[in-house]
Amino acid sequence: MDVELISLTKRYGNTVAVDGIDLKVRSGAYCCLLGPSGCGKTTTLRMIGGHETVSSGDVVIGPRAVGDATPAERGTAMMFQSYALFPHLNCRDNVAFSLRMRGVGKAERRAKALAMLDLVQMAHLAERLPAQLSGGQQQRVALARALVTGPKVLLLDEPLSALDPFLRVRMRTELKRIQAELGLTFIHVTHSQEEAMALSDLVVVMNGGRIEQAADPRTVFERPATAFVARFIGGHNVIRLPDSTEIAVRADRMRLGLQAGPEAVPARVVSVEYQGTSVHVGFEADGLGATALTAILDDAAYAGRPLALGETVPLGWDAAAAHRLSA
């Protein structure tokens, strides 16, 4: 179902956590709310899920504004950051919990719970207590529990942040698979731009309670709207030109030495990091704003012309790759 936020605001006393945001997520989309901690992304998610009251504005799910409706009435389900599995119930009963609350008969709710556990490949551990499961397994159970009532919108609060990097990548694939299989709207809160890029159809970059940019991942990466987005999404250099306009240039479009072009300025090498397929070189340049710059060089090209720390080389960029930022 479509989810629409209309000048949604959350105030705590005098502080504004979410500042009148507007957003439309179409049905069946995978939307990531991305931002640093304290940017209001979790509060937004909790308002969509009915776990936080709305100070002003509206949450519209499907055809109607949900107002003060409970999560069940909204057709949303939440997957909590700490999984929040009931420690006294085994996996099957955890998944069947919401069905039990709705008065579904024992045989039926058990069958449904097992089917859901099967979807997340946890049916073989149905009798285990949450404490007897690994983090990744608990997460699968939490996912099954959120999905068992057939919600129209699934809300995920930093679901992957407690997993180790290897498992995170695997669960990421899994989430995407389940989302595609069930055709649900997923709204996923994360502070990892890598996760947002990998998963979403719609990336919503938030900062200070406002939306900086909402677009598909490619647009966000190719044409970041603001300096904040360019910096947060990574892989960009934010450069202040002499006429005091700001541009973003992808780090892999920086050019050195002879290819540096007419706008090149002398820059000093301050760090060199070998990354396998590429080499990340850090520069300091006086002419291009105060920030440190990064150039991502092809490993073969770097091997042909290695750089030493402290060395000064001309640094420029592809004119076509420069993207002008709005103030």
């Binding site: 899920g49 420690p87 006294h88």
Partner: protein, 318 residues
């Protein structure tokens, strides 16, 4: 901190897990073990002197003989027969059985009242009071009655509940009753009232402790799953507060089962209880009989606790 103290600390942790083969022990591990035992010794000593030895003495004395003017160290089971005298005739329940029934009645009533009140208070403090400071403040308020002695708190009910006490006076003044209510004081009611007053805090503390450890996101998860407030209470809070309920119940049950002061003061010395029987025998210097009664009471209480721990596996829950 000395070197030995440092090396002894891990030993205390390691000893129970160490394999049973003692043959290959080096001098160092043996010294560590000795140190671990030494560290446990003070508590063991206190436990032995103040618990094991008196218990053993009680057990021994319960088999002694006695008559009107002396106690004779010998071996007889007569004291136990005396306790159950007449209990095996089907005609009428014997004194002991009736006393136990009366005490058990107080026990059940007190347990039910303290559980309901204790759970409610703990729930309020743990879930409805948001700030940690306020929680601690309210929690301390619950313990304020303990700043005065039990007996004084009991006696202070008397001017309130007596025939010409405040309650009767007020009710008559309001015209709600014509004659004073007789059963307020020196009755089962006043005994249970005093028990509840004295013991509720023993329910509040452990239940609050259990509830404070419940992850708040579980309550949100229950709400998200469509549970109503009562459903959340019954399906999430109560099961997770079970260890606290069990510990509180053990406190209350053991305190009420062994009590003789409250029953005496609030029952006007007219109501029987197991503790009261033992106290009367003690003051008549019938120590062996009192000891036998005490041993039986101990057995009864232990049976009740075993039954309770059967319902809730405390070691697992903690």
């Amino acid at each position: 901190m000395t070197d030995t103290a440092l090396s002894a600390m891990p030993a205390a942790v390691n000893v129970p897990a160490a394999p049973a083969s003692t043959t290959s022990l080096t001098a160092k591990t043996r010294r560590r073990r000795a140190l671990a035992y030494l560290q446990a010794a003070p508590m063991a000593l206190v436990f032995a002197v103040f618990f094991l030895v008196p218990l053993l003495l009680t057990l021994i004395v319960s088999f002694w003989e006695y008559n009107e003017y002396e106690i004779i160290p010998s071996f007889t089971v007569q004291n136990y027969f005396d306790v159950f005298e007449g209990c095996f005739s089907p005609a009428e329940a014997c004194t002991t059985v009736r006393t136990y029934v009366s005490t058990l009645k107080f026990c059940v009533l007190t347990w039910a009242c303290t559980l309901v009140i204790g759970f409610t208070v703990a729930y309020f403090v743990a879930f409805h009071v948001r700030s940690r400071t306020m929680q601690m403040a309210l929690f301390l308020v619950c313990t304020i009655p303990f700043w005065t002695s039990n007996v004084i708190r009991m006696i202070s009910w008397i001017p309130l509940l007596g025939r010409n006490g405040l309650v009767n006076y007020t009710l008559m003044g309001l015209g709600l009753i014509k004659a004073p209510i007789e059963g307020l004081l020196y009755s089962d009611f006043s005994v249970v009232l005093a028990f509840v007053h004295l013991n509720t805090v023993f329910m509040i503390v452990p239940i609050f402790n259990s509830m404070a450890r419940i992850d708040r996101s579980l309550i949100e998860a229950a709400y998200d799953a469509g549970a109503t407030g009562w459903q959340t209470l019954w399906n999430v809070v109560v099961p997770l507060a079970k260890p606290g309920i069990a510990i509180g119940s053990i406190f209350v049950v053991t305190l009420v089962m062994g009590d003789f002061v409250t029953v005496g003061v609030m029952g006007g010395q007219q109501i029987a209880s197991v503790g009261k029987v033992i106290q009367v025998q003690m003051s008549a210097l019938q120590l062996p009989a009192a000891a036998a009664n005490a041993v039986i009471l101990l057995g009864a209480v232990m049976l009740m606790i075993v039954a309770m721990t059967r319902l809730i596996d405390l070691r697992k829950e903690l």
